[in-house]
C-alpha cells in the first residue's frame, strides 16, 4: 500500500514536470496564436482582446498555474466581451479554433483510439504469445524456424507500408473489406468490426512479432535455469513444468512491454490512425499540430503522457503479483 502511494505520487510528479515542459515549450512557439485566432478583419483592438481571452498577455507562470488549476477545479473562458464558456473538471483547455473544450474533443476521439487499442492488443498478445511458446517448445523444428522468420519479418515491417498493402489487397482488389474508418460500435457494430479488421491485423501482425521473439527468448532462458531442471528431475511432467514455471517466469518481462506499448497506443495510435483514416486521438493531435492549435496540442500530449505514466504504475504493480521474486518494500 505504501508502495502504491509512493508510485502514485511519483507518477504525479512526472506528469507535473511533463506538463510544465510541454506548456513552456509550446507557448514560446514562433507562430502567434492570437494572430491565427483573430482571422478576418483583424484590428489591433480585436487582437488585443483575443490576446486577453487567450491569456497570452499573462506571464507564462500564471498561464500554467491556471491551466493546472483548471484540471482540478474547472475554469471559465472568455469569448468576445460577454460570452463565457464553462470548462468543467478536468479542464485541459479551450480551443478557440474549433470552439470546443479540449476535454470534449478528447472525449469525442477516444472511442476510436480505444477501439484500435483494445482489438489490436488482444490479437497481438494472443498471436505473439502462442507463436513464441510453440517456437520455444519446438525449438529447432521447422515450425520454430517459420515462426522466427515471421517474427523477424514482422519486426522489420512498417505500419504505413503493411497498412497500404493490406488495403490494396483486401479493399481494392478483392473487395472483401470496406475501406477502414470509424463508426461507433453502438451505432453499427458490424460496420465497426469490419472497418477495424485491417487496423487490428496490421498492428497485431507487426507487434505480435516482437512478442513472439520476447516470449521465445524468455522461455528458452528460463528453461535453461537450474530450478527448471530440478523440477524436471523431481519428476514433474514436462507440460506441467512448462506451464507452471517456465511460462510464468517468462511472462513477466512481457507484461512490462505490453503495459508500456498499450500506454503509448492509448495516447494516440498516430500512424495507424493516419494510414487508416481513423479519427482518433492521434489524428486530433496531428491536426492540431498543423493548425497550430496550441491548447489542443498541449492537452493531447498531456493526456497521452497520463496514459504512459499510468501504464508504468500498473506494470510495476502487476510485476509484484506475477513474480514472487519481486518483493516490494
Amino acid at each position: 500500500m505504501r508502495y502504491l502511494i509512493r508510485r502514485l505520487v511519483g507518477g504525479g510528479v512526472v506528469l507535473t514536470i511533463v506538463s510544465a515542459v510541454v506548456f513552456g515549450v509550446f507557448y514560446i512557439l514562433p507562430a502567434d496564436p492570437a494572430r491565427l485566432a483573430c482571422g478576418k478583419s483583424c484590428t489591433p483592438e480585436l487582437m488585443a482582446r483575443i490576446r486577453h481571452t487567450l491569456e497570452i498577455d499573462q506571464p507564462l507562470a500564471t498561464q500554467y498555474g491556471r491551466f493546472v488549476k483548471g484540471i482540478f477545479v474547472g475554469r471559465t473562458y472568455l469569448k468576445g466581451t460577454t460570452a463565457q464558456i464553462q470548462c468543467a473538471t478536468p479542464c485541459l483547455g479551450y480551443s478557440y479554433q474549433t470552439d470546443a473544450t479540449v476535454t470534449s474533443l478528447i472525449k469525442d476521439r477516444l472511442p476510436a483510439t480505444l477501439s484500435i487499442a483494445a482489438g489490436a492488443s488482444i490479437l497481438w498478445l494472443f498471436v505473439g504469445l502462442l507463436t513464441g511458446i510453440i517456437s520455444a517448445l519446438r525449438r529447432g523444428t521447422w515450425i520454430d524456424k517459420l515462426a522466427q522468420g515471421f517474427a523477424l519479418g514482422g519486426a522489420s515491417l512498417q505500419i504505413y507500408f503493411v497498412g497500404l498493402v493490406l488495403q490494396f489487397i483486401f479493399v481494392d482488389k478483392l473487395n472483401l473489406l470496406p475501406s477502414p474508418g470509424y463508426v461507433s460500435p453502438f451505432d453499427d457494430f458490424g460496420g465497426w468490426f469490419m472497418q477495424m479488421i485491417l487496423p487490428w491485423t496490421t498492428l497485431a501482425f507487426l507487434l505480435s512479432a516482437i512478442y513472439a521473439r520476447l516470449t521465445r527468448a524468455g522461455m528458452l532462458e528460463v528453461m535453461s535455469e537450474d530450478y527448471i531442471r530440478t523440477a524436471r528431475a523431481k519428476g514433474l511432467t514436462k507440460s506441467r513444468v512448462n506451464v507452471k514455471h517456465v511460462l510464468r517466469a517468462a511472462i513477466t518481462p512481457i507484461v512490462t512491454v505490453f503495459g508500456l506499448d498499450l500506454g503509448q497506443l492509448l495516447g494516440g495510435a498516430v500512424i495507424t490512425e493516419y494510414v487508416f483514416n481513423i479519427p482518433g486521438l492521434g489524428r486530433l493531435a496531428t491536426d492540431a499540430v498543423s493548425n497550430v492549435d496550441l491548447p489542443v496540442i498541449v492537452g493531447t500530449v498531456m493526456f497521452a503522457a497520463f496514459f504512459i505514466v499510468v501504464a508504468n504504475i500498473v506494470v510495476d504493480l502487476l510485476y509484484s503479483v506475477l513474480d514472487p521474486k519481486v518483493r516490494l518494500q
Binding site: 507562430a31 502567434d32 478576418k40 478583419s41 469569448k79 460570452a83 474508418g181 497550430v292
Partner: protein, 576 residues
C-alpha cells in the same frame, strides 16, 4: 475601396461554373422581371419525397448567416436562409435574382445609395412575418463580430458607419443609420461609404438576411438560425448530425429560386476523406442517396474521371480558384527579372504536379474566362499559354542576359498543403533551369496568408505561390483584392501579394472607381489586370482549378452552382 477579406478562407469561398453566364445588374434597371416572381422554374423529372443525405468530413464551420463564409455552406444553407439577393442556376445558366427583395436594387447616384423593394408576405418557420426591421437587425448583428466571429465584413466595409457602432449587443442604444426601412416597410435603403456598383452581389451574403430579434440567441444562433426558407432545422447535434424538415410556412410562390423536393435532409459529419471517397465511388449505403459539400473529396481522379461507369454521377467544373504565383515587386524590382520569371515557369509541369488536365485548365489571367466582360485572352511571354504552356527557356535566359546585375537568388514561398509543395517544386525546377537559384520557403498551413502578406521582414519571399477564389462572379471581386496597391500598408500587403503599386495603374483604378455602370468598370478592371500581367509582370497565372464531385446514383437534380462554384443540393430529388 476597402475589400479586405479573410485570406485564410480562400479556397472555400464562392465560384462559378464553366458554363455559367452572369447577368450583371445594370445600375439603373428597376423594371421587374417576370422570372423574379416565384415559384422557381420547373426541374424536369423531379419528384417529391424521400431523404437526401449529405455526408461531410467535418461539421459546418458556422451556419449563423452572419458568420458563414464557406462556399459549400453558402450554397447549402439557402435551404433555410433567404438573403436580399441570391444566385439562381438553371440549365447551366447562373443569374442574380432578388430573394427577399423584389428587385435587384436601384441607385440614383452611381451606386452610393441603393434602394431595394422588398417582397411582401414572407414568413419564418413559426409563421410570423419577416419584416424590413428584421433584415436591418440581421445586418446590425454582423457588426458584433467579437461574439459572432467569422463571416464576411462587407456590411462593415461598405456601409456608411455611424461612429462607434459596434452592433446591437455591444452598443444597443446606437442605430445603424445607414440602413433605413421605408415607413411602410416595403423597401430598404443603404447609404454606402462610396459608390459601389457591384453592391447587389454583396447582398447575397448571409449578413443581408432577416433575423428575428426575439429568436436571436447570439453565439448560439449558430445552432438554430430561424428559418425563412423551405426547410427548418429539426435537430442539430454539433459534429454529428443535422436534420432538416419542411417549413410549412414557406410559400413557393414567393421564392424565385428554391424547391423542396426531399421530405427530409440529413447531414452527417465525421467522415474521413478516403472512406467518403470510397463510399461515393462504390455508390454504397447512404452515399447512394447522398452527396457531399466538401471539396477535394474525389482525389482518385485516375480511377473516376474518364470512366463511363461514373459519368452520370461525376461532376467536373470550374472551381473559383485561380492558382498563381505572385512576384514580389518590393523585392524583385527589375522588370526584366520579373518577366524572366514569368517566361521560365512551366505551366505544364505545374498542372501535372496538381494532377494534370483533370485538375484544372491553363490560365493566362486571374480572371476566369466565364467573366466575359472582363476576361481577355492575351499572350503571356509572347505565347498563348493554353496552346503552349511549356517554359519559354530561351526568352527567359535572354531577358536575364540583357539585365546587368540581375537578381538571380529567389526565395519561393509555398504552403504545406496537398499538392502545393509539388507545384512549388515544379516552379523551382523551371526557374533553376534558366539560371535562377531558388530557395524554398515551406510555410505551415495555419497562418499562411498572414505570413505571405508581411512586408519588409527578413526572408520576405520573392515569389509567392497562392490562389484566389472570388466572392462574386465579376472582375470587381478579383482585381481590387489582388492588384490594388492603394490600401496596402508598409507592413502588410493585404491580399495584394505581389505588392503592386504602380502610379499609372492607380490612375486607372481611380477611373474604374468612378465608373458608373458595371460593364465599363469590368472592362477597365480587365485592362488593369492585362497591363499588370503583360507590362509589369506582377503575377504568373498558372491555372483555374477544376472541382470534382460525385453524387449517389439515386439522386437527380444535382448540379454545379454558378454562384458558389460548388455542387448544389438545392434542386436534388430522390429517384423512386
Amino acid at each position: 475601396m476597402n475589400i479586405h477579406r479573410k485570406a485564410g478562407l480562400i479556397g472555400s469561398v464562392a465560384a462559378l461554373a464553366a458554363t455559367a453566364f452572369y447577368a450583371v445588374p445594370t445600375a439603373t434597371a428597376a423594371t421587374a422581371n417576370p422570372s423574379w416572381v416565384g415559384p422557381a422554374p420547373v426541374i424536369k423529372g423531379a419528384v417529391t419525397g424521400g431523404t437526401l443525405n449529405i455526408l461531410n468530413q467535418g461539421d459546418f464551420e458556422h451556419i449563423d448567416p452572419a458568420r458563414n463564409y464557406v462556399g459549400g455552406t453558402l450554397d447549402f444553407y439557402r435551404f433555410f436562409i433567404r438573403t436580399l439577393t441570391q444566385y439562381r442556376t438553371i440549365n447551366g445558366k447562373t443569374e442574380l435574382v432578388p430573394d427577399i427583395a423584389a428587385d435587384l436594387g436601384t441607385t440614383k447616384d452611381q451606386g452610393k445609395t441603393w434602394v431595394f423593394k422588398l417582397r411582401p408576405n414572407l414568413k419564418y418557420e413559426d409563421g410570423t412575418a419577416i419584416t424590413c426591421a428584421d433584415l436591418k437587425y440581421g445586418i446590425e448583428r454582423s457588426y458584433n463580430d467579437d461574439i459572432l466571429d467569422g463571416g464576411t465584413t462587407y456590411a462593415h466595409d461598405l456601409l456608411a458607419n455611424p461612429t462607434d457602432y459596434k452592433g446591437p449587443y455591444t452598443t444597443p442604444t446606437k442605430n445603424l443609420s445607414s440602413v433605413t426601412c421605408s415607413p411602410k416597410g416595403d423597401s430598404v435603403k443603404f447609404d454606402l461609404q462610396q459608390a459601389t456598383p457591384y453592391f447587389p452581389f454583396v447582398t447575397t451574403f448571409g449578413a443581408f438576411s432577416p433575423v428575428p430579434v426575439a429568436h436571436d440567441t447570439k453565439q448560439n444562433y449558430d445552432l438554430h438560425p430561424w428559418s425563412s426558407g423551405p426547410y427548418k432545422i429539426a435537430s442539430y447535434d454539433r459534429g454529428k448530425q443535422m436534420t432538416l424538415v419542411r417549413n410549412k410556412f414557406w410559400d413557393p410562390n414567393t421564392d424565385p429560386l428554391r424547391h423542396n423536393f426531399p421530405d427530409t435532409i440529413k447531414v452527417k459529419f465525421g467522415f474521413e476523406q478516403n472512406a467518403l471517397e470510397q463510399q461515393f465511388v462504390s455508390d454504397s449505403g447512404a452515399a447512394q442517396t447522398g452527396m457531399t459539400l466538401d471539396t477535394e473529396v474525389v482525389t482518385n481522379l485516375a480511377t473516376v474521371s474518364g470512366n463511363d461507369k461514373y459519368k452520370s454521377r461525376f461532376f467536373a467544373f470550374n472551381s473559383p480558384y485561380a492558382r498563381y504565383l505572385a512576384i514580389n515587386m518590393d523585392t524583385v524590382k527589375d522588370l526584366n527579372v520579373r518577366k524572366a520569371i514569368q517566361c521560365a515557369v512551366d505551366l505544364k509541369t505545374v498542372l501535372l504536379a496538381a494532377g494534370g488536365s483533370a485538375a484544372g485548365r491553363y490560365a493566362n489571367s486571374l480572371i476566369p474566362s466565364n467573366i466575359s466582360l472582363a476576361y481577355r485572352n492575351f499572350p503571356v511571354c509572347g505565347r498563348d499559354v493554353k496552346m503552349n504552356p511549356e517554359s519559354q527557356i530561351a526568352a527567359a535566359k535572354a531577358l536575364l542576359a540583357a539585365t546587368p546585375n540581375a537578381k538571380k537568388d529567389l526565395i519561393l514561398a509555398y504552403r504545406d498543403k496537398g499538392v502545393e509543395p509539388a507545384r512549388a517544386e515544379a516552379a523551382q525546377q523551371a526557374l533553376q533551369a534558366v539560371g535562377f537559384t531558388v530557395t524554398m520557403q515551406k510555410l505551415p498551413r495555419a497562418g499562411y496568408y498572414t505570413a505571405i502578406g508581411k512586408r519588409g521582414v527578413s526572408g520576405e519571399p520573392d515569389v509567392i505561390q497562392t490562389s484566389w477564389g472570388f466572392d462574386w462572379p465579376a472582375a470587381s471581386g478579383i482585381v481590387y483584392a489582388l492588384l490594388d496597391g492603394r490600401t496596402m500598408l508598409a507592413t502588410d500587403s493585404h491580399s495584394n501579394y505581389s505588392r503592386s503599386n504602380v502610379p499609372a495603374i492607380q490612375t486607372l483604378f481611380e477611373k474604374a472607381d468612378a465608373t458608373i455602370a458595371t460593364a465599363p468598370q469590368e472592362k477597365l478592371l480587365g485592362d488593369i489586370e492585362q497591363k499588370l500581367i503583360q507590362d509589369y509582370a506582377a503575377v504568373v497565372p498558372l491555372y483555374i482549378e477544376t472541382s470534382n464531385f460525385m453524387a449517389g446514383s439515386k439522386l437527380g437534380g444535382v448540379q454545379p452552382d454558378g454562384g458558389y462554384g460548388t455542387i448544389s443540393p438545392l434542386y436534388a430529388w430522390l429517384k423512386k
